[in-house]
């Protein structure tokens, strides 16, 4: 298997002297799903920004598909709160990436209409984000990411502000999406169950500066029913234990 993302010894020191990451090394295979879990402020968001090419690591390098990144590539980034633009309608939000890339109007429309339909958002195309529930807003964010047909999807606590039921529904949705399209995904989360349910590989980071403490393989995941299986609970316990060792 080839590597979609390869983080080699990356460290990040912000200009104000805050050291966010230290010697982070791990890789994500093509089509694999990876969960990153770690205490608040340990540099998870920073890491995603580096993967997406928005920030540069202070030392070390990131290879995407084997080559170093210099500017944002075909990766989609989904943020928790500031992902959608409140001043744009659902349609405009989903369309934005295509518009910026200069995709032809007719083609934009075709792609967006199909996505809105697939995600059950077609009745809300002219609504503004504030008029939608939290779960629907995140579906719009996912639609916008998918519109670009990305090879890599980076998600920063995408479901953390949702209620438990909506959250589970969207987790299932994401899992099905991963199975269907085999997009490489990196998901940052605070939630152990979510990390185990959605990550074939679970990377545990230490408190700031974030270092990789442990990488747990989770071969059994991939099915919606996994949530109710014994293996799931055992894996959760394993992850919890590893985390409690570092905090």
């Amino acid at each position: 298997m080839t590597k979609a993302i390869e983080a080699i010894n990356i460290s990040k020191v912000y200009s104000n002297g805050v050291k966010a990451l230290e010697n982070v090394t791990f890789s994500v295979e093509k089509g694999e799903s990876c969960s990153i879990i770690g205490p608040s402020g340990c540099g998870k968001t920073t890491l995603l920004f580096i993967f997406s090419g928005i920030l540069k690591p202070t030392t070390g390098k990131v290879l995407i598909d084997g080559s170093e990144i210099d500017k944002p590539r075909n990766t989609a980034l989904i943020l928790q709160d500031f992902g959608l633009f409140p001043w744009k309608t659902v349609y405009e939000n989903v369309c934005l990436g295509l518009k910026i890339r200069g995709v032809e109007k007719n083609k934009q429309k075709k792609i967006v209409e199909k996505l809105l339909k697939d995600l059950g958002l077609q009745d809300f195309r002219n609504s503004y984000p504030k008029e939608l529930s939290g779960g629907m807003q995140q579906r719009v964010a996912i639609a916008r990411a998918l519109a670009l047909n990305p090879e890599i999807m980076l998600m920063d606590e995408p479901f953390s502000s949702l209620d438990a039921l909506t959250r589970e529904k969207l987790q299932n949705f994401l899992l099905e999406l991963q199975n269907k399209d085999s997009i490489t995904t990196v998901l940052v989360t605070h939630n152990i169950e979510e990390a185990v349910f959605l990550g074939k590989k679970i990377v545990i980071l230490s408190p700031r500066p974030g270092k990789v403490v442990k990488i747990i393989d989770n071969e059994e995941m991939g099915d919606v029913e996994y949530r109710n299986k014994k293996g799931f609970f055992e894996k959760c316990r394993e992850v919890r234990k590893s985390i409690s060792l570092v905090i």
């Binding site: 920004f49 997406s52 090419g53 928005i54 944002p72 990766t75 989609a76 980034l77 943020l79 709160d81 500031f82 992902g83 633009f85 409140p86 001043w87 744009k88 934005l96 990436g97 910026i100 890339r101 503004y128 984000p129 504030k130 916008r144 670009l148 980076l154």
Partner: protein, 247 residues
């Protein structure tokens, strides 16, 4: 028109009626030619409409609208560019030093350079409105959450896209609010600017009728000036309603 909008319009009508009734009562109580009753003013107003009132009105409107457009066309680009930290650190000191000055004191200077014609009046009003818009626009442009920008960058955005899709739409409602306050100021300064060195404009009409103790005509001028303010304000409200639907 929706029900609530009808109610909205009705409440304006009621307020206008109450004001007229109070005015009438005051004029009856005081019984001085300096406070004619609404009916007399109305008659004088319609009388003057057939004479040169429309001319004065149009000239005033032309002066104030040009001033506002001039102020906007300078304040918005400069204010938006404050989003760039490097530009802001250059511009900010100038704003801090120049904003607190009562700009009306520059009148002699303006007249010295631009003569006593329309241009000077327009520049005086524009100068004052310019700073009001500039300060608001700058504050707003600096307060754009950087996560919005990261989110856009991840879609492959250029600098121009950031202004077009994030900074400007975010700042626009604040500009409109500043403009609403600015319109009030602009008309006040308009009155001042028209009270000398001109034979045209509502300000001139008011001051001239005042000199001649022609109270009905004086009030017709006042009513026209109020009307000018009301029209500009209504236009802004209309624009705001369309533009700020997302808020």
């Amino acid at each position: 028109m929706s029900g609530s909008e009808k109610k909205h319009k009705l409440s304006y009508l009621i307020a206008a009626l109450i004001l007229i009734i109070v005015w009438n009562a005051v004029s009856c109580l005081i019984n001085s030619p300096a406070i004619p009753n609404p009916y007399v003013v109305f008659l004088s107003f319609t009388q003057q409409l057939k004479q040169d009132l429309p001319q004065h009105f149009l000239i005033s409107a032309y002066r104030v609208i040009y001033s506002i457009l001039l102020a906007l066309s300078l304040a918005i680009p400069i204010g938006l560019s404050a989003h760039e930290k490097r530009i802001d650190s250059f511009v900010a000191p100038f704003i801090y030093l120049l904003y607190p000055i009562p700009h009306i004191v520059f009148l002699p200077l303006i007249i010295l350079f631009f003569g006593i014609g329309d241009l000077s009046k327009i520049i005086l009003i524009a100068l004052i409105v310019f700073f009001q818009i500039l300060v608001t626009t700058r504050d707003a442009a600096r307060s754009v959450n950087e996560y919005y920008i990261y989110s856009l960058l991840s879609l492959g955005a250029t600098k121009k896209d950031i202004y077009k899709h994030v900074v400007f739409p975010f700042v626009l409602p604040k500009i409109l609010t500043a403009l609403r306050i600015g319109v009030g100021t602009a008309i006040a300064v308009l009155f001042f600017a028209e009270s000398f060195a001109t034979n045209e404009g509502l300000g001139h009409l008011i001051v001239d009728s005042w000199d001649r103790a022609d109270y009905p005509s004086l009030y017709a001028g006042i009513v026209s000036m109020a009307l000018l303010g009301f029209i500009l304000y209504s236009i802004l409200e209309f624009v705001e309603k369309r533009v700020c639907r997302w808020m």
